[in-house]
């Protein structure tokens, strides 16, 4: 190992939203020099069974920026230990380890973006592409007293998804939330969106 004369990166922390996880730290600055960083991680398995083994992060071994997208490193729902060190030529800092282990089940789940459209008398929903982890629970109903609420599970896809055949003159409302199988959690519902169907209401 190189002589540890570089200061170790400080203030490690992870920001995680919608299963995208980013590790950040305070940069180590050396005038007129470019400092590189290496990130490594250990899952619970490695900590318990092979504690001497650390796995280099897929995107940040090395990197120049004081942050690292660890989304593809954190791939199981266990607690992960993360560490960073700085290097400058042959000079290497000591490792700095994240104070609290990170588990993806703590990710912040935001309500999904959605676009409600009609094709003739067919109510369609297009949902924000949040990646393969996500399924969507779509709730929709006809806006009238006592209307029944329908739930449809929608998988990620390119095309708008058909929800309901609607009647002229009626109004329909939709809201959606995400569900992440890997962590067994869902987001809050999106704001409700309502659409009015063209045409004369059908006689009762």
């Amino acid at each position: 190992d190189g002589v540890a004369v570089l200061p170790a990166p400080q203030n490690l922390s992870v920001q995680s939203t919608n299963m995208k996880h980013v590790l950040t730290w305070s940069p180590v600055t050396v005038p007129e020099e470019i400092v590189h960083y290496s990130v490594e991680y250990q899952g619970e398995y490695e900590s318990l069974y092979t504690s001497h083994i650390w796995i280099p992060s897929i995107w940040c071994s090395p990197t120049q920026r004081p942050e690292c997208d660890i989304t593809e490193d954190i791939t199981a729902t266990v607690s992960y230990s993360l560490r960073v060190r700085a290097t400058l030529g042959s000079l290497t800092s000591t490792w700095s380890t994240l104070k609290h282990r990170f588990n993806q089940n703590s990710t912040i789940l935001t309500p999904p973006g959605m676009e409600i459209t009609m094709d003739g008398f067919h109510l369609l929903i297009k949902l924000e592409d949040l990646g393969p982890h996500f399924e969507f629970f779509v709730s929709y109903w006809r806006r009238e007293p006592g209307a029944k609420e329908h739930i449809k599970v929608v998988r990620p896809g390119v095309l708008p998804v058909y929800l309901e055949t609607v009647e002229p003159g009626a109004a329909y409302c939709v809201k959606a939330r995400t569900f992440v199988k890997a962590i067994g959690r869902h987001s809050a519902f999106s704001p409700t969106e309502c659409v009015k169907v063209q045409g004369e209401a059908l006689p009762l």
């Binding site: 896809g157 998804v161 058909y162 055949t165």
Partner: protein
Amino acid sequence: VPCVSGDLPKPTNVAFISINMKNILQWNPPEGLQGMEVSYTVQYFIYGQKKWLNKSECRNISRTYCDLSAETSDYEHQYYAKVKAMWGTNCSKWAETGRFYPFLETQIGPPEVALTTDEKSISIVLTAPKKWKKNPEESSISMQQIYSNLKYNVSIYNTKSNRTWSQCVTNHTLVFSWLEPGTLYCVLVESFVPGPPRLTHPSERQCVSTLEDQTTALEVK
């Protein structure tokens, strides 16, 4: 007459092509021997057992494929196959597949799609793809019976509004009502089994037109 092994280059791209449990071993002729009168011999192996087994119908054949569906039909098992080329008294070494797990790897073919229309609706009746069977007389087994979580992704293209939308279903009949009269709609259906990714085969795109609006037709008379 035993041939001299190793003088010929091996067949290339040896792999199973599997759709609805019809498992065909396929390969390319050895480099440089395309068009020559090369013959091939195939053997297969059940992972965990002891011997390579012959496939008599694929001994000294000139074609570059061999149907091993019957030999690889046990869902619990995994298989290997290998093929060697022969030309005159020379033959190649064996060219071998990787481990083949039909239950996980078979591609799910598209369902049969029957469309009927009336003025403002299209009825879609899906028939699950059929599993390969040894004899035509055998009763058919649907892939749904093998994969109980088989689903269908139905996509509909409205040629007038130029919009396409989809619906994921497990049942075999669905009706799209309140469509636009006198409009051409195109339907395409794909079977899939949730789980590890598999190649998929969408159905042929079928287009059908809803009938003209009968009320305006009457007024015209």
